[in-house]
Amino acid sequence: MKPTLEMYLILSAVLFTIGVTGVLTRRNALIIFMSVELMLNAANLTLVAYSRFLPDISGQIFVFFVMAVAAAEVAVGLAIIVAIFRQKESVDIDKVNLMKW
C-alpha cells in the first residue's frame, strides 16, 4: 500500500497534538522543550508531505529554515534553562513566574 497524503497529515496532526499537550501539561522545562521540538517536527512533516505530493520543492526549503531556526532556539532556550537552574536549583516551570505584570 502506497502511503497517501492524508496519512501524513493525520500523523502530523497527531504528533502536533502530542506536542501541544506536552507543552501545556508538563512541568519539567526540558520535557516542554522536547514537546516544542515535537510540534516543530510535526509541522516539518506536513511541509515535506505537501512538497512531495504537489510537487513543489519550496516546502523542503522551508523545512531547512525551520530546522536551522529550531537549532538556534534550542541553543538559546537551553542556555536560559541552565541559568534558571543555577538560580533556583530546579527546572519546574511553575516556579518561574517572573514575567507577570
Binding site: 501541544v20 507543552v23 501545556l24 516542554i32 516551570i93 518561574v96 514575567m99 507577570k100
Partner: protein, 703 residues
C-alpha cells in the same frame, strides 16, 4: 531787632532741650540754664521795650519777617514773626513774670525728685508763650496756642502720681479742645473768604469788604471760642480752678499771668475785625464770667481756688472791656493783672510752702491750702504779708494801685458803652457787682490767712517761718509793680491811665468793620480827654464831641462807683472776718440755696457731668452697642451664612465630586485587578490562552 526777638523766642527752647535730656546729670538739675535763658530773654525784652517803645514813641511801629513755608501750586503759605508795640509789651510781661517764677521755683520746688523736669517744662512753656506773642499769623498762633496748652497740661499734671492732678490736667486739655475746635473753624472761615491767615492781611481783607456781615460775625465769635477755652470764660471756665492741682509757681505763671491772658491777647489782636454783633457777644460772655466767677470765689475755702476764680473773674473783665470797645483798658488790665495776680499766686505759694512745713512737722494730714487751717500768719511771714496785701489792694481796685487804674478804665469804658446803648445796662452792673465782690473775697482771704490766731495750735505755730529769700524777692518785685507809679508816667495821675505811656502807646485800633460804614455807633474806647481824636471815618465832629463828653462823664462816675463798691466790699469783709461783728455762719444759713450754689460752683461740674460728659458717654455706649450688636451682628451673620454655604459646598465636594473621582479610580482599579489576574507569569498559561485564541479564530474562520 528781629534777631533779638528770635533770641528771646529760641533761648528757652534751647534751654528746654538741654535740661530735659541732660538735666539729671547737670548740677542743680540744670536749673541755671533755664534761668539764664529766661533772664537773658527778659533783658532783651526790656532793651526792646525801653529803646524802641519808650525811646521812639511810635504807635504805628511794626516790623515783621516772613518766609514761604508751604507752596501749593500758586498759593504760598508764609509764616513769620512780627513785632509791634503790643507784642513787645507782651514780651516784657511774659518774660518778666516767667523769670520771676523761675526764680521762685528754685526755692519752691527744692528737693522735688523731678526738679529738672519742672524747669525744662517751664522753659518749654516760656518758648510757646513767646512764640504765641510773636506770631504774625493765625496759623502760627494756633500752633503755639496748642503748645501752651500742652505745656499747661504737662505742668498741671506735674505731680501725676496724684489722681486729682492727672485728672485736672486731662480736664484742662479736653476743655480747651472744645474752644479750639471753634477757633479752627473760625480760622477756616477767614481762610476760605480771604485766602490768608496773616493778621495784617486779614485786617486789610476785611477792610476791603471781602469778608463781611454774618459770616464775619460768625468768624469773630468762633475765633473768640478759642479765647473762651484758653482764658477760662464761661462756660468753659471749669478747667482753671482744677488746674490749681499743679505746683503753685505754675499756677502763677500759666494760670494767672500769661497763658490765660493769651485768649485776651487773641481777642485784642482780632479787635479790628470784630463786628458789633460779635463784640456784643464777647462783652456779655466776659461780663457774665466776671460776676459769675466772683460769686463762686466768695464761698471757697481753698486759698488757691479763691485766686483761681478771681482770675476767671478778672479775665472776664478784660474780655468784657474788649467787647465793649475799651481796647486800651482791657489790654492795660491784662498787663497790670499779670503782675498783681502773679504776686498773689506766688504769695499763696509762699504760704502753702510754710503750711506744708508746719503740717509736716506736726504730722498732720490736713489740707495745706485750706484757709480754715491758717490765721495769724502776718507775724511770721511779714514779707509775704505786705506783698500780698499790696497785690490784694490792686486786685480790689483800691486807689493808687495799678489795678485801680486798669479796672477803673474798664468800668468807665463799659459804663460809657451802656450810656450810649442803655439797653445794655447789665454790662456795667455786672462789672460793678463783680468789683464789690472781688474786694470782699480778697479781704476775706487776707483776714482769714494773715489775721487772728493760728488755728492749728501753738505747737504748730512754732514751726512757722518766712520763706527763703529766693522766694520773697520775686514777691517784692511783683508787688512794687502793682503800684500805679510804673504805669502812670509821664503824667503820674493816680486816677486815670490817660496821659500815661500806656494809653499813649496803645490807642484803640481802628475797627475796620466800622470804617466800611456798617457800624452805627462807636463804643467808648478812648481813655479820658487826651486820647480823643475825632476820626472822620466814623464820626462827625459833634458826635465825637458828644461821645468824648460821655466818656469823661462815664469815667468820673465809674471811678466814684467803683471806689464805693470796693470800699463797701472791704468794709463788709472787715466786719465779718476781722472784727467778727457779722457772723458769717449766720449769713451762710440765711443765704441758703445761694450759698450752696456759690460753694458748689453753681454746680457747673455736675451739670457738665450730667449733660456733656454723660451725654458723650451715653452716645459712646450707644455707638458701642450699635457697633457690637448691629455691625458685628452683620459681620458675624455674613460669617455664619458663609460657613453654612461652605459646609454644604464641602459636603458636595467631599461626597459628590470626590465620589465621582474615586468611583472612576475604583472602576479602573477593579478592571485592572481583573485583568491582572490573567497575567500569572506562567508560560504555560499564556500558551493556553494563545491556543484558545487560535481555536476561536479557527472556529470563526471555519464557520
Amino acid at each position: 531787632m528781629l534777631g533779638l526777638a528770635l533770641y528771646i523766642l529760641l533761648a528757652p527752647l534751647v534751654a528746654f532741650t538741654i535740661v530735659i535730656f541732660f538735666g539729671r546729670k547737670l548740677p542743680r538739675g540744670g536749673d541755671f540754664i533755664s534761668l539764664f535763658a529766661i533772664w537773658s530773654g527778659l533783658a532783651a525784652s526790656l532793651y526792646l521795650f525801653f529803646t524802641q517803645m519808650l525811646g521812639h514813641y511810635d504807635p504805628a511801629f511794626a516790623l515783621s519777617y516772613r518766609f514761604d513755608w508751604v507752596t501749593w501750586g500758586t498759593y504760598k503759605l508764609n509764616i513769620g514773626i512780627a513785632i509791634d508795640n503790643m507784642s513787645m509789651m507782651m514780651l516784657v510781661v511774659v518774660t518778666l513774670v516767667s523769670s520771676l517764677v523761675h526764680l521762685f521755683s528754685v526755692g519752691y520746688m527744692k528737693g522735688d525728685p523731678k526738679y529738672h523736669r519742672f524747669f525744662s517744662f517751664l522753659s518749654f512753656f516760656s518758648f510757646s508763650m513767646i512764640g504765641l506773642v510773636l506770631a504774625d499769623n493765625l496759623l502760627i498762633i494756633y500752633a503755639f496756642w496748642e503748645l501752651v496748652g500742652l505745656s499747661s497740661y504737662l505742668l498741671i499734671g506735674f505731680w501725676h502720681e496724684k489722681d486729682s492732678a492727672s485728672n485736672a490736667a486731662k480736664k484742662a486739655f479736653v476743655t480747651n479742645r472744645v474752644g479750639d475746635a471753634g477757633m479752627l473753624i473760625g480760622m477756616l472761615i477767614c481762610f476760605t473768604a480771604l485766602g490768608t491767615l496773616n493778621l495784617v492781611e486779614l485786617k486789610d481783607g476785611v477792610a476791603q469788604g471781602h469778608l463781611a456781615g454774618g459770616l464775619l460775625t460768625a468768624a469773630g465769635i468762633l475765633l473768640f471760642m478759642g479765647a473762651v477755652g484758653k482764658s477760662a470764660q464761661f462756660p468753659l471756665h471749669v478747667w482753671l480752678p482744677d488746674a490749681m492741682e499743679g505746683p503753685t509757681p505754675v499756677s502763677a505763671l500759666i494760670h494767672a499771668a500769661t497763658m490765660v491772658a493769651a485768649g485776651v491777647y487773641l481777642v485784642a489782636r482780632l479787635f479790628p475785625i470784630l463786628t458789633p454783633d460779635a463784640s456784643l457777644v464777647i462783652a456779655y460772655v466776659g461780663g457774665f464770667t466776671a460776676i459769675f466767677a466772683a460769686t463762686i470765689a466768695v464761698a471757697q475755702n481753698d486759698i488757691k481756688r479763691v485766686l483761681a476764680y478771681s482770675t476767671v473773674s478778672q479775665l472776664g473783665y478784660m474780655v468784657m472791656a474788649l467787647g465793649t470797645g475799651a481796647f486800651t483798658a482791657g489790654f492795660f488790665h491784662l498787663v497790670t493783672h499779670a503782675m498783681f495776680k502773679a504776686c498773689l499766686f506766688l504769695g499763696s505759694g509762699s504760704i502753702i510752702f510754710a503750711m506744708h512745713h508746719v503740717l509736716h512737722n506736726i504730722h498732720s494730714h490736713d489740707d495745706a491750702q485750706d484757709m480754715r487751717n491758717m490765721g495769724g500768719l502776718k507775724k511770721y511771714m511779714p514779707v509775704t504779708f505786705w506783698t500780698f496785701l499790696i497785690a490784694t489792694t490792686a486786685l480790689a481796685g483800691v486807689p493808687f494801685t495799678s489795678g485801680f487804674l486798669s479796672k477803673d478804665a474798664i468800668l468807665g469804658g463799659t459804663l460809657a458803652f451802656a450810656m450810649e446803648h442803655p439797653k445794655h445796662w447789665l454790662l456795667p452792673a455786672f462789672g460793678f457787682a463783680a468789683a464789690g465782690l472781688t474786694a470782699f473775697y480778697m479781704f476775706r482771704l487776707v483776714y482769714l490767712t494773715f489775721y487772728g490766731t493760728f488755728r492749728k495750735g501753738s505747737e504748730a505755730e512754732s514751726h512757722l517761718h518766712e520763706s527763703p529769700r529766693v522766694m520773697t524777692v520775686p514777691l517784692i518785685v511783683l508787688a512794687s509793680l502793682s503800684i500805679f507809679f510804673f504805669y502812670a508816667a509821664p503824667a503820674f495821675n493816680p486816677t486815670t491811665p490817660a496821659g500815661g505811656w500806656f494809653a499813649t502807646l496803645f490807642p484803640t485800633p481802628e475797627n475796620v468793620t466800622l470804617a466800611s460804614g456798617r457800624y452805627v455807633s462807636p463804643a467808648s474806647s478812648r481813655l479820658g480827654d487826651e486820647a480823643v481824636e475825632p476820626t472822620a471815618e466814623h464820626a462827625s465832629g459833634t458826635e465825637a464831641l458828644h461821645s468824648a463828653h460821655l466818656e469823661h462823664l462815664a469815667h468820673n462816675w465809674a471811678m466814684l462807683i467803683s471806689i464805693l463798691v470796693a470800699g463797701l466790699g472791704i468794709w463788709i469783709a472787715t466786719l465779718a472776718y476781722y472784727k467778727w461783728k457779722i457772723d458769717p455762719e449766720k449769713w451762710r444759713l440765711r443765704f441758703g440755696v445761694a450759698y450752696r450754689g456759690m460753694y458748689n460752683k453753681w454746680w457747673c461740674d455736675e451739670v457738665y457731668k450730667a449733660t456733656a460728659i454723660n451725654g458723650t458717654l451715653g452716645l459712646s455706649k450707644g455707638l458701642a452697642w450699635f457697633d457690637g450688636a448691629i455691625l458685628d451682628g452683620i459681620v458675624n451673620g455674613s460669617a455664619t451664612v458663609t460657613r453654612l454655604f461652605s459646609t454644604v459646598q464641602g459636603w458636595f465636594d467631599n461626597k459628590v465630586v470626590d465620589g465621582l473621582v474615586n468611583l472612576t479610580a475604583m472602576v479602573v482599579g477593579f478592571w485592572a485587578h481583573f485583568v491582572r489576574s490573567f497575567q500569572t507569569g506562567q508560560v504555560q498559561r499564556y500558551l493556553l490562552y494563545t491556543l484558545a485564541g487560535v481555536g476561536i479564530v479557527i472556529i470563526l474562520v471555519v464557520i
